[in-house]
Structures are given as C-alpha cells and as structure tokens.
Symmetry: C2
Subunit: 331 residues, 2 copies
C-alpha cells in the first residue's frame, strides 16, 4: 500500500491541515518508460500556496483529489527505462506520498553530490539554493561593494542569497522577524547587519542601515517591508521579485504605494524570477553551490519533520513562521 | 536688453502662468570660454514639472528668481572659445530667454542635420526622439512580432516610440485621449490600433487589443492606465518607466494596485529611464532618427507657439492637453 496526502478542498488563503487527507492507495504496476520511486524526503515550500490556489499562476493548480504536488528525494526501486537504475537517488516531482510511479519528465536530476546529505537536494542544493544563486546573479547582478538587502533573510532562499552575496564581496543586510532569527542571520549566515521587521523602530533602523542606498533588493515578501525599502534604492538598483509571501490573498488585489516614481528617479529595475524558466542552468548551479557548501562558505539550516502524518499541517506551519530553516519531511 | 522668463514661486502641482514673470535683464559681458547664444526655439517639456518641483528628482530644482531651465536651439552670436563660431546653430540648456551667456558644459550638441528644420532638434531629433529610441531599444528590447503598447501615444515621446517599434517589426497599440488623437495615432503615426482612455469601454477595448499579451509597455503615465495594462503583460514583458504624467503630486505618495505579483507571474521587468544617463549615445541616436525622418519612416508633429510671452502658460497648457505634438516656442 502507498500512503498519499491528497488535497481535499481548496483554501482561500494558506492551505491548512483540514484541506488535506491521508489515504491509502494501492501500488500501481509500471508502464513502459516509468520508474517507481520510494520517497525519502519531501519538500515543503512557501510557493505551494500558489500551486494550490485557484488563480493565475505559473502552473496549473493542484486538482482536488490529487496527491499534493511536491519535490522529493527518492530512491529508484523499479525502473522500466534504461536511464535510471534501482538504488539511484533522484530529485523530482514525486509528491507528498510514500511511493511514486513517475515518468522521466517528472525527474529533475540525479543526485551526484554523494558526499553530502541527500536532503540538501531539496534546500540549499535544490530550488531554494538554485533560485537564490540564479536570481541573485542573473537579475541582481551583484558587484563587489554593493549593498544587498534580503527580505526573509533567515529563510531557505534568503539565507542563501545573503551568503552568496557575501561571496561576491557585497555588504549584506538581512530583514527577518524576531530576535532569534536576527541573531541567526548575523551569527550563522554571516550577514553584516540584520533587522527585525517586528521591532517598533524598524523603519528608522532600515533607513540607518541603508543610508548609502540599496544596490540589490532580493525580495520574497511584496508587502509592507518592500514599501519601506523602495525609497532607499540606489541609482541603477536591481529588485529581484522572487516571492510575495507578505500578501495572504490577491483577491481582492491589494494596493500599495506606487513604485513607478522610485524606478524612474533611481533608474532602477524590478524583475520577477521563477526558477522553472532556468532549468538549463540548474545542474551547473548545484555544482557551484555544493562546492561552496564543502568549503564552508555556504551554510544551511534544516527544519526536519518526521513522517507523512506531519504533511497536512506542514505548509500552514511555515506561514505561522514556526520553522527555522528549510522545512523537510523525512519519511 | 535680454527678456527672461523667471520662476517667481514654487507651485505644488503643475506650474501655472502666475508662477512665472517676464523681466528685462541687461546683456552680460562674456568671460573667457563663454559663448553668447541668441535663442531661436525654446522647448516645453512635461518633465519641467519635475525640474521645478521642490522634491527629490534627478536634478536640483530651478531656484526661485532664476531663469526657467529649458533646452533651446540658438545661434552663436559671440564666442570666447575656439570650439564654437558665430553663426553656428547649437542645442543646449539656454533657458527661457532671448539671449543666453553659457559655458561649454551647457551645450548639448551642434546641429549637423542642416537639411532638416532646426526646431526638430528639440523634439523628434532631441530628447523626446532620443528618449523614445534609446529607452525602447535598451529597456524595451523590441523584437519583430512583439506587441508594443504606448501610453501618451500621440505625444512627442510616445509618437516616436510607436513609429520606431513599427520599424522594428512590432505590432503597435497606442493609448491616447479623445477621438482626434486616436485618429492621429492610426492615420499619422501608423499605430496598428489606438485606444481612447477617456472612452467608457476603455478597459474592455484594452483587454481585446491586448488579448495576446503585451511584450513591451512604454509608459509615461504611472497611473490608472498602467493599472489596467499590467494584468495584460506577457511572459518576459518589459515595462519602460519614462514618465509619471498621470500623478499630479507625490506628496502624499499615491497608492495603486501592487505590481510585484504581475512581475513574478509574468517574469516581467519594469525599469526607469532618464535620458541624461545616456548622453554618450545621443549623437548616434540623432543620426539614426534623422535618417528615418528623411526616409519618411518617422513622422512628427509640432505645436509651435509664438514669442516669449507665451512661455508662462505653455507648461500648464501642456498638462491641460491642449497641444497636438511637440510644444515649441518660436522666438
């Protein structure tokens, strides 16, 4: 039998535990070209909110009654293609379930960095780390001496952005919530400065930290934090729009202070980034990130839950801010 | 005597006639390196609102009591530098006055396209045309087959954008105000379609015209028109922020629907453009534009007022929308 986490109803905001159910399904026989995967680690992503939402997104919404879409690390247990062999560890769209029968197109990559923990392929060596690396370099274009400001600075993406910007010789400022995460930013992830957006003096602290202007703003929030950041953009600044976590719903569409005047006066650029447009650069990016991890320049933090039963509440918990690091479910 | 238009008070919105006065000043003697210019054509620009405003801008505000800052075409009448000779026609920051005593740094260029009317150096062969050309190509990156949407489509910048996009093989849609300007867009400036933003069905007409998505949005407005355009951006769209004419004041700072989600979902880019960053490309751009004018591919429309007395109300008139084409004052 194969235990699966099924989406049973469509939430208006963030999916809660009651929007999912765990069901027992039978193991399916393989068709030609298919591969049977035994999942070992399941990923939990903030972007899952968008994958579930019944609104315009970069992918079709997860259907009601379908297994929750998720990246996972799994082992090939049976294969009807010569390309993959039993025992190999793969990353792919294997879903929140014990076992997946997949096509080759569901596979993102074979894990080759066998000296490192396989769970990293869902975080620092997965779409979080690769998004941080590619969006920062392709859109942010950081140059030594730049000030790079990161929202969700202690998160799976943000913490990688800050450290990669450091490797590029930038001054890094992280924005995060609460004293514990502020300390994690400076002590664990090496930010030059970290600011608590929940602090009463956040606006003044931000202005002081950004008095020389922000050359690169890497944002995952798109809300009140960004509204305070935009006035501090420097000439020719680059704003990476990688997520919109601060906005709980786009229906009705929320207003905010207009950005056009900042972009004009500062000749600044804002650009959206979705990792799935850049899969041709994925493997090279993972290789670079793995080298940085091995050399100790790139640190990571994992938040590991145990067992499939933790899936239904895992995404809601992410939005409650209860995780410290990349949330992964170990099976 | 030298008649000058002086800024006498700082307006909160657009400068009106009563914010200026015309005074008689004496002709100054030249110091070494200076040039005396007899102005022939004075420019009137929407951007003058920003040059006058007492707010953050890309240049220091015009001082109270100073001659109004303006580009002009003038003839050298006396020169204490070997670089410029009496009789030459120059474009530069000569101000709203009959005669200017200037430094070499105030001169933008010598007019070399002597077969074309010299007033063009303030419009289609001046910062309007060059802004259209450089911002469209450098930020908009138009490709044959793209849909290019232009706000203020009949204006001095917008009308050039639409025609240049046509030269690049794009489908062009213009947005303008009123039936007369709509007809001018399609009949005179060659837009494939033109929409009246004052029409009751504008939103529906825009959606229909942009049903295949907007690859390039060249904007001079930053207001309600843009808010309707952003949802129609195509994947990888480019938004050129060249002006913010729809916003009469940035104090208090106006709100609008948030743009981040559009930029993320469409992996789109918004970027501000100020011509003064690109003066190294100015001469080459003028040469290209002049060739297009000569070949009949690039048409223009001038709105010529007569005499210095028309200066004080000329900018307010521009914002009242009374001009048809590039507003110039002939002395």
């Amino acid at each position: 039998m194969n235990r699966q986490v099924i989406l049973t109803s469509r939430p208006t905001g963030v999916a809660q535990a009651e929007n999912f159910a765990i069901v027992d399904a039978s193991s399916l026989p393989l068709a030609d070209g298919q591969i049977r995967i035994r999942n070992r680690y399941l990923s939990v992503e903030p972007a899952m909110r968008g994958w579930i939402a019944d609104a315009s997104n970069y992918s079709a919404p997860v259907a009601i009654g379908a297994v929750m879409r998720a990246l996972a690390v799994g082992e090939v247990v049976e294969s009807l293609t010569e390309k993959y062999r039993p025992g190999e560890l793969l990353v792919g769209w294997f879903g929140w379930q014990d076992e997946a029968v997949v096509e080759q197109s569901d596979i993102v990559r074979r894990i080759t960095e066998v000296d490192l923990p396989p769970s990293l392929a869902l975080g620092i060596l997965g779409i979080n780390g690769v998004s941080a690396h590619l969006a920062l370099t392709l859109i942010g274009e950081p140059t030594s001496g730049d000030t790079v400001l990161v929202s969700t600075a202690a998160g799976a993406v943000g913490s990688a952005v800050g450290q990669i910007a450091q490797i590029f010789g930038c001054r890094t400022i992280g924005i995060t919530g609460g004293a514990e995460k502020v300390a994690q930013c400076t002590e664990h992830f090496g930010y030059d400065a970290a600011l608590d957006y929940k602090a009463a003096n956040f606006s003044e602290a931000l202005a002081a930290a950004c008095s020389d202007g922000v050359n690169v703003y890497y944002d995952n929030t798109a809300g009140a934090i960004s509204d305070l950041v935009y006035p501090h953009l420097s000439l020719n600044a680059r704003v990476v729009i990688c997520g919109t976590a601060a906005i709980s719903s786009w229906s009705p569409w929320p207003d905010g202070p207009r950005v056009e005047r900042h972009l004009l006066l500062k000749r600044a650029r804002m650009q959206g980034f979705v990792i799935f447009d850049h899969m041709d650069k994925y493997e090279a990016s993972v290789a670079q990130l793995a080298d940085w991890v091995r050399s100790g320049w790139l640190r990571y933090q994992e938040d590991i839950l145990n067992g499939l039963d933790t899936c239904p509440d895992a995404l809601a918990g992410l939005y409650r801010g209860e995780n410290k690091g990349k949330r992964i479910i170990k099976l």
